[in-house]
């Protein structure tokens, strides 16, 4: 099936002033590739500050003015030009942002969901959407500050799905929610995918992502290091990259074992493999050669010695 979204070699960098008027370029995302087929939920998992929100902003062409973007983004087979993005976003491509701060605090929820349109048909659709997400009809009359965290998230989803989108981008939809509420919100994204849309779920929470995702792309220091099917995580030896394995082993229920060190900041990226300084299986040339992103055992991996399990 033709992928709904196909990102190839996406790099994003920022121009910043260091000291005085001297400018430097900070690479934040490097060589990111992924594709989403209709009906699929693809999760992009990365730690905070790894630039994963920028991916959403790049797809919607709303990056700040001091950034530069390289690579190709294709939507339903054709490149996303700024003009095309402007025409599609909000209707076919929608963003479910992080929290209630993305709602207009001075506008009631109903008009925000209807995007200001007043026709009876739209109002009805709005009520239907609210009902679908278990929100009482009087939600329409409320202001954003009167919503709880979970309700706000459902309102944001309602706003997004009013137009029956083909591609839903969810940027950290669950923080601040307890496990049950988070599960319910993620369930709604699963439903959207089952209805034929493509869902890109951007999150730092691997555990929650795995509950609904078909495939998971793992970000490390601005690069995708592995793309795996959700089932690979629970299959012994199914994971390909040592970082992904370390993530999995650090889960409270899987041993809670940390590896030392931290992710390099943009601007201090090592020349070779970006994970090499922390890698338990680092070999001599890992420090020098930057591994290519290649397919391996039905997934993708950026490691020259993938899949070898220790012990």
């Amino acid at each position: 099936m033709e992928p709904i979204l196909d990102v190839e070699g996406l790099s994003i960098s920022f121009r910043q002033y260091d000291r005085g008027a001297h400018q430097r370029t900070l690479p934040v995302i490097h060589d990111l590739s992924l594709s989403i087929a209709p009906g699929q939920v693809v999760a992009v998992v990365g730690s905070s500050g790894s630039g994963k929100s920028l991916l959403a902003h790049a797809l919607l062409d709303i990056l700040p003015a001091n950034s530069a973007r390289e690579g190709v983004i294709r939507y339903r087979g054709e490149p996303l030009t700024p003009a095309r993005t402007a025409a599609l976003r909000g209707t076919e491509i929608v963003l479910v942002p992080q929290g209630v701060t993305y709602l207009d605090p001075l506008m009631k929820v109903g008009p925000q969901i209807c995007k200001g349109r007043r026709e009876g048909r739209v109002r009805e659709a709005c009520r239907a959407v609210l009902a679908r997400y278990g929100l009482p009809p009087d939600t329409e009359e409320r202001y954003p500050f009167e919503l709880s965290g979970g309700m706000a998230r459902r309102v944001l989803i309602s706003t997004a799905v009013m137009e029956s989108p083909r591609l839903v981008i969810a940027d950290e939809p669950t923080p601040g929610l307890d496990a049950r509420a988070a599960g319910r919100i993620l369930g709604h994204f699963r439903e959207l995918a089952d209805g034929g849309a493509g869902v890109l779920l951007i999150t730092h929470d691997l555990e929650l992502a795995l509950t609904i995702a078909d495939r998971v792309a793992v970000l490390y220091a601005g690069e995708t290091v592995e793309e795996a099917a959700a089932a690979d995580f629970t299959t012994p030896g199914g994971l390909r990259h040592p970082y992904t394995r370390a993530l999995w082993a650090a889960l409270p229920q899987n041993g809670f074992r940390p590896i030392p060190g931290s992710q390099p900041a943009p601007g201090e990226i090592p020349t070779g493999c970006r994970f090499a300084p922390r890698c338990p299986r680092c070999r001599g040339d890992c420090q020098e050669t930057h591994p290519a992103y290649r397919s391996f055992r039905g997934g993708m991996v950026r490691c020259d010695f993938p899949g070898e399990v220790m012990e």
């Binding site: 990365g46 730690s47 905070s48 500050g49 790894s50 709880s148 965290g149 979970g150 923080p175 601040g176 929610l177 307890d178 496990a179 049950r180 509420a181 988070a182 730092h204 691997l206 555990e207 370390a246 993530l247 999995w248 650090a250 889960l251 409270p252 229920q253 809670f256 074992r257 940390p258 590896i259 030392p260 060190g261 931290s262 992710q263 900041a265």
Partner: protein
Amino acid sequence: MSLEAKDLTFRYPRRSRGSVLEGVFLTVEPGERVGLSAPSGRGKTTLCKLLSGYERPDRGEVLLDGRPLSSYKGFCPVQMIWQHPETAVDPLLRLGETLYEAGPVEDRLLDALHIQPAWLERYPLELSGGELQRFCIARALREGVRYLLCDEITAMLDLITQAQIWDFLLEEARQRELGLVIVSHNTLLLERLCTRIHPLT
């Protein structure tokens, strides 16, 4: 020798819908690790703020060793660590200044938290959330601290950083007989960390 919450009631001013907390009792002994679990919106963060003196209760009191918490001047022996470390450090100050502004911090802590000396010269924007959280923990663990309130402190961090931080905190709390109150929506994490779990109803 304990941290006690007695009949705490709190409501945010100008908010009509009832109290956030109503008659909450909680006692934490030194060396204890108490997990707070409740659905969102039940005032877990508010309870932490009351216990560490960020807010004052409308009714009831917080006692440390039988004395009201508000009678402790200067460095508060009950310290709170926040979910979003980037809001808890001044964006315009180098982290070294933030770390030492209230007084000395043992070098041992910096080593154990893997805080690199070069980070002290940086501004908060240049570090990741996990790195900033280490600074917030280090400055709270000054001499004289008795209780730490950890409000979802690793919820925004990646799993490896989460494991690193808890690894350190549990060891430190054991050695110094600190009492911990841990808030998390992750029940598996709470089970792993806590000596008992207190449901907030």
